[in-house]
């Protein structure tokens, strides 16, 4: 066996959890309960949840779970009645030559745009660019962005209602 690389020790300390334990904190039922407020259909929600915490690199799965659960906890501390979320469809990443052929090539969860529109001062060009940024990339990114924006929009609306 070759001698350990000089960086190995430091690396091992920093990444001391084996892959089998890297997601030990993930409780799918807890995330499911949070997602149920956004995606009521069971099959749709299972699909979204799989994209968030069961596909892609481990660190994305874990980070998605933690950030969404924390946002969910913040939202719980600001009770309120939520208006329906409306916004832009979130496209799947399909091969370019097939994009126009797929009739149902969007994820079952839209990106809400009310809070973004307010943030960007009703600048439609900027809003379109923001939507592009938030919905591009693999679904470990795009769907996590959409859920976060959804929760943040609800939170902002609840806070506004309390003012």
């Amino acid at each position: 066996m070759p001698p350990p690389h000089k960086h190995d020790k430091k690396h091992d300390k920093k990444h001391r959890h084996p892959a089998s334990q890297a997601l030990r904190f993930v409780e799918p039922a807890s995330l499911d309960a949070l997602l149920a407020t956004l995606v009521p259909g069971n099959a749709d929600r299972e699909f979204v949840q799989r994209c968030l915490i069961d596909e892609g690199p481990l660190h994305h799965r874990g980070a998605n779970y933690l950030l969404l659960r924390l946002l969910g906890r913040v939202l719980e501390r600001v009770p309120g009645v939520d208006a329906p979320l409306e916004g832009e469809e979130v496209p799947m990443r399909l091969p370019p030559h097939l994009e126009d052929e797929v009739e149902e090539g969007n994820f079952p969860l839209p990106l809400p745009t009310r809070a973004l529109r307010e943030l960007l001062g009703d600048d439609e060009e900027s809003l379109a660019a923001a939507v592009d940024c938030l919905t591009d990339g693999p679904p470990q990114h795009s769907l996590a962005n959409v859920v976060m924006v959804s929760l943040l929009e609800r939170l902002l609306a609840r806070l506004e209602a309390k003012r």
Binding site: F47, E55, P95, G105, P138
Partner: protein, 213 residues
């Protein structure tokens, strides 16, 4: 044994599927030659066709072709609009296609090392199943689309196997373009020879694993 049975089984496996052809051949040989004939069939072709080997071995232990069960699978397919089928097992696909609502489109990936006559394969479904190329099957992706692969050995200790077509179509890009990735186990008897023609896969590759019998 001459090359005849091997060629005949190869053709049947290509155009019906390995498990479908195995149960059919084993039953026919048993009918004409009895258990000794099944043993000869196993000895002659088993090493080349491990699914046939498993079926012959099970037959000699008293097993018979299982009744195909589509009900659990149909429950998972409720509300979907497209099923993309990976691999071919006519004994299972025929009743599934018959049970699906007419509005559900069914596509079959046109990929097999056994080089079937695809026109003849598709003709068996009377226009109900469409052939899909590897280059464009993602045109059937969507939030109400399902990838369905035949798998072999889900209940055994030797592992879970699928046709190579499954490996070709189930990459990380495709996995998040379909609502469900379903493995449908059509073997139901243990494999004793490492299954050439098949690829070892992980149960975690699928969102559902259903027994086909």
């Amino acid at each position: 044994m001459s090359a005849g049975p091997d060629q005949a089984f190869s053709l049947a496996a290509a155009e019906l599927g390995m498990a479908s052809a195995a149960w059919l051949f084993t039953a026919e040989v048993d009918r004409s030659e009895g258990a000794e004939g099944v043993q000869r069939l196993r000895d002659a072709l088993g090493r080349r066709w491990p699914v046939l080997d498993a079926v012959c071995a099970a037959w000699l232990e008293g097993a018979r072709a299982p009744e195909v069960s589509t009900a659990p699978l149909l429950a998972w397919l409720e509300g979907i609009t497209r099923v993309v089928v990976v691999g071919l097992e006519a004994r299972w696909l025929d009743p599934l296609v018959a049970a699906l609502p007419a509005a559900v489109r069914v596509g079959l990936i046109k990929h097999s090392e056994l080089s079937p006559d695809w026109d003849r394969v598709i003709a068996n479904f009377a226009g109900r199943v469409e052939l899909l190329e590897l280059a464009d099957f993602q045109g059937w992706a969507g939030q109400r689309s399902v990838l369905l692969s035949f798998v072999y050995g889900a209940g055994g200790v030797s592992g879970l196997f699928a046709l190579s077509a499954w490996v070709r179509v189930s990459g990380p890009d495709v996995r998040t373009q379909f609502r469900e990735l379903i493995g449908w186990d059509v073997l139901g008897v243990p494999l004793s020879i490492y299954p050439r023609w098949l690829v070892a896969v992980s149960p975690g590759d699928f969102t559902r694993l259903e027994a086909g019998a």
